[in-house]
């Protein structure tokens, strides 16, 4: 049975199943954020102070990218994303939070790819795909990352899917050719 701690205002369920534990974590997070909220008339509109902080970090990252200080840029943008994860409350508009995350992650992907962090890039790409972004850019980057990670069979699958959705894409066709060559060598 549920246990409620009056001091922390959190509920607990000993021996909860995975799904139940997830629900309880959600409730506790909501409670915490509600308690921390100073404005009694809060709305789904994203808080301006949070937006300002996130924007500052992100623009810092963009500036460093222009200056070709890629490791620093990566750090700044990662910080911006972490800031958004920490500061945004569950009741701030989902559409805006999603767009914000997707936009920042897209930048991070390119920075990872430039610096050879292919596995990190792949995780960000799959996050985008899981949240419904299926543009050719995503397929191009995923194919590239997979080829660099020597996963030629997976790269072929992604590239072909990308071409199914955009059959005339030149970059994807070029990647398919490159991957086919690599696959031939892989298979002796």
């Amino acid at each position: 049975s549920l246990v409620y701690d009056v001091n922390t205002k959190q509920i607990q369920l000993p021996e909860a199943s995975d799904d139940m534990a997830m629900n309880i974590a959600q409730i506790n997070k909501l409670t915490q954020d509600l308690i921390a909220e100073s404005n009694p008339n809060f709305t789904p509109k994203p808080r301006d102070d949070s937006t300002a902080m996130i924007k500052k970090l992100f623009e810092n990252g963009l500036k460093q990218t222009k200056q070709q200080h890629f490791p620093e840029a990566l750090k700044s943008i990662s910080l911006a994303i972490e800031m958004a994860q920490r500061k945004r409350t569950p009741w701030e508009a989902f559409a805006i939070q999603l767009q914000e995350l997707q936009f920042m992650v897209k930048n991070r992907i390119d920075l990872c790819l430039i610096q050879g962090k292919f596995m990190d890039a792949l995780q960000d790409i799959e996050l985008l795909q899981n949240t419904g972004v299926n543009t050719s850019d995503v397929f191009i980057r995923k194919t590239d990352a997979l080829i660099k990670l020597k996963q030629y069979e997976l790269a072929k699958v992604e590239c072909e899917r990308g071409l199914s959705l955009d059959p005339t894409n030149v970059k994807l066709k070029a990647l398919l050719l490159e991957n086919t060559r690599k696959l031939a060598e892989y298979n002796g």
């Binding site: 020597k150 069979e153 699958v157 199914s164």
Partner: protein
């Protein structure tokens, strides 16, 4: 009001005999057919392979013991049905004997009127023969013609005989008499008939009747309901795919609650399998975590000491569980789980963990440590392995013994690889796929060895890939694929049961990346190409040395569960043809469906 009972056992033997024959004759025919069929059946069409003998040799003694213990426990000869048939016929023989020795029956039979017998002619005699027989006999038996020396009794007998002969003649010739004979079995018209109960008296009357009533109650109240309910619950306990409904509902629950952020791994599938109800029924005292660790032991080819038999038995059961899970995963349209389920299948059959080097590690005699540590080139595929000469391969795999190396190379070269030659959506009788038609997928594949030199699909001329266009083929396009032979037995010395693998064909809609139908399973393809000598290490010029006529093109046809879209356009599908038994034997292509008028 008063019935005659069968005191003299005249009728109940016939009643029992009829009942027995009605059951025994079809059952005997069915059993004989099954006995003969099981000898010939698939063995006749299954291809032989060099791996058959190797598989025998590499199967451990422990495994052979296990196979003897658990498979074919009851041969057809000693099955319950056969015993029933034999006992049944023995009872029939007894009854026939009883009938033959029964005086009352003989008497009743003798009083039957048989004109042919009386006249001493065959039943097929013509009218002329009847007349001449009568004339001869009437001369012999006519009262006026009888000899004077006969006694009174003899005279009476002869007269009686004469009357009978005359009646017999009339029965066959005279209209009225013949009608009587045909209708009542006697020329004089209806004879005395009796009606009675074809059961001995003691069964129906006071002394025996409690016994009869008790047996009726037992039959209708207990025995019949018992068998019916046992059959019904057995049928209800298992799904169409042959897995327990509890296992199926567990898998469905896992799939329903599956979060896309989870990465599907072979370990996850093994964890799911360990919760199968079938395992619980086999071994009620063991927990799912025990089953899970046994399955991992199997993958790592490590012994499970006193649980060895348990391990082998549950491994054998995974075959039907994995097919059941496959069916459920495709119903949920989940491609990731479908693919990993089939990878798990391979892992279990070959007792090799799924990883980047599985294609190599599935081979026999490979020294894993030497292979992984001593690697200069990163060899992950059999095709890459065969770019080296045999001696070098021995070094790479860490095999010193020449005999063992030869075995390993045989296995490696006999693992079937599929190469796509042609792929299209086909509507029978139409040149294109028209809107809302029912297409099916036709794949023309080349089964080739990893050893063979690569040749492009355009080297295979169109004539070798054409489909018959006669009426029967158009009516049933899938019949032609059944003419291909059944694939040979899999080389799987670690799997407890001798098996033939199969290819599972999965169709995915590229637009959403989801599976669109349950898989089509096939185990018919010719492996004759595998023994061809076209070694990539020896062939210098493909163009001159390759003769397509020497190669066999295989066909895989996949029915399409939905009609073609109603609008014209190009729709893309991904077709995955995954083998259940070998790593490296898969095919994964994208093909367009061009819907045109």
């Amino acid at each position: 009001l008063s019935y005659d009972y069968d005191e003299s056992s005249e009728t109940w033997p016939f009643f029992l005999l009829t009942l027995l024959c009605v059951v025994l004759i079809p059952l005997t025919i069915a059993q004989l057919y099954a006995l003969l069929k099981s000898e010939n059946s698939e063995k006749a069409t299954r291809q032989k392979s060099p791996l058959d003998e190797l598989d025998e040799r590499y199967t451990s003694a422990k495994m052979i013991d296990f196979q003897k213990k658990f498979s074919n426990k009851r041969s057809k000869l000693t099955s319950k049905r056969t015993i029933f048939v034999v006992v049944g016929w023995a009872i029939v023989a007894l009854l026939v004997n009883k009938i033959g020795g029964n005086e009352a029956i003989k008497e009743a039979a003798s009083s039957l009127f048989d004109p042919y017998e009386l006249l001493g002619i065959a039943t097929s005699a013509t009218e002329k023969e009847v007349k001449s027989a009568y004339r001869k006999l009437s001369v012999k038996f006519h009262p006026d013609k009888l000899s004077k020396d006969l006694t009174e009794q003899q005279r009476l007998d002869m007269e009686e005989q004469y009357v009978l002969i005359t009646k017999a003649y009339k029965a066959l010739t005279d209209e009225l008499t013949r009608e009587n004979f045909l209708r009542y079995g006697h020329p004089d018209g209806p004879q005395a008939t009796s009606h009675g109960i074809a059961l001995p008296k003691f069964l129906v009357n006071s002394s025996g009747s409690p016994l009869v009533i008790i047996s009726y109650i037992a039959m209708l109240g207990f025995i019949l309901p018992f068998f019916v309910s046992r059959w019904w619950s057995r049928t209800q306990s298992f799904t169409k795919k042959g897995i327990h409904v509890k296992s199926a509902s567990y898998f469905a629950d896992r799939l329903f609650n599956f979060k896309p952020s989870q990465v599907v791994t072979v370990d996850m599938i093994i964890k799911w399998l360990s919760h199968a109800e079938e395992f619980k029924i086999f071994y009620p005292n063991l927990t799912p975590s025990v089953f899970e660790s046994l399955l991992h032991d199997h993958l790592n080819r490590s012994s499970s000491s006193d649980l060895e038999d348990v391990k082998l038995r549950i491994v054998a059961k995974t075959h039907s569980l994995l097919f059941g899970l496959l069916d459920i995963a495709t119903s949920f349209r989940n491609l990731e789980i479908t693919n990993v389920t089939l990878d798990t299948f391979k892992s279990i059959v070959q007792a090799t963990p799924s990883g980047p080097y599985s294609q190599i590690l599935q081979l026999p005699n490979v020294n894993q440590k030497a292979f992984l540590e001593g690697a200069v080139d990163d060899i992950r595929t059999l095709g890459k392995l065969f770019t080296f000469d045999d001696k070098k391969i021995g070094k790479i795999l860490g095999i010193d013994d020449e005999g063992k190396l030869k075995d390993t190379l045989t296995v490696a070269s006999q693992i079937p690889h599929l190469k796509i030659v042609r792929a299209e959506f086909k509507v029978p009788g139409e040149p294109v796929v028209t809107p809302s038609s029912t297409p099916h997928i036709v794949l023309k594949v080349m089964v080739r060895s990893a050893r063979h030199k690569f040749f492009t699909p355009n080297k295979i001329p169109d004539e070798m890939c054409s489909e018959p266009q006669d009426f029967d083929s158009l009516r049933d396009p899938f019949a032609s694929t059944l003419e291909q032979p059944v694939i040979p037995e899999t080389f799987a010395p670690y799997f407890p049961v001798k098996r033939t693998g199969s290819w599972c064909c999965i169709v995915v809609l590229q637009k959403d990346g989801k599976v669109i139908q349950t898989p089509m399973i096939t185990n018919r393809l010719s492996f004759v190409n595998l023994s061809k000598d076209f070694d990539k290490r020896k062939v210098k010029d493909v163009d001159s040395e390759f003769d397509p006529k020497e190669w066999e093109v295989g066909t895989i046809k996949i029915p399409f569960s939905q009609p073609a879209p109603p609008q014209k356009g190009d729709y893309f599908f991904r077709v995955i043809v995954k083998n259940t038994d070998y790593f490296g034997a898969d095919l994964d292509i994208t093909m367009p469906m061009s819907v045109r008028d």
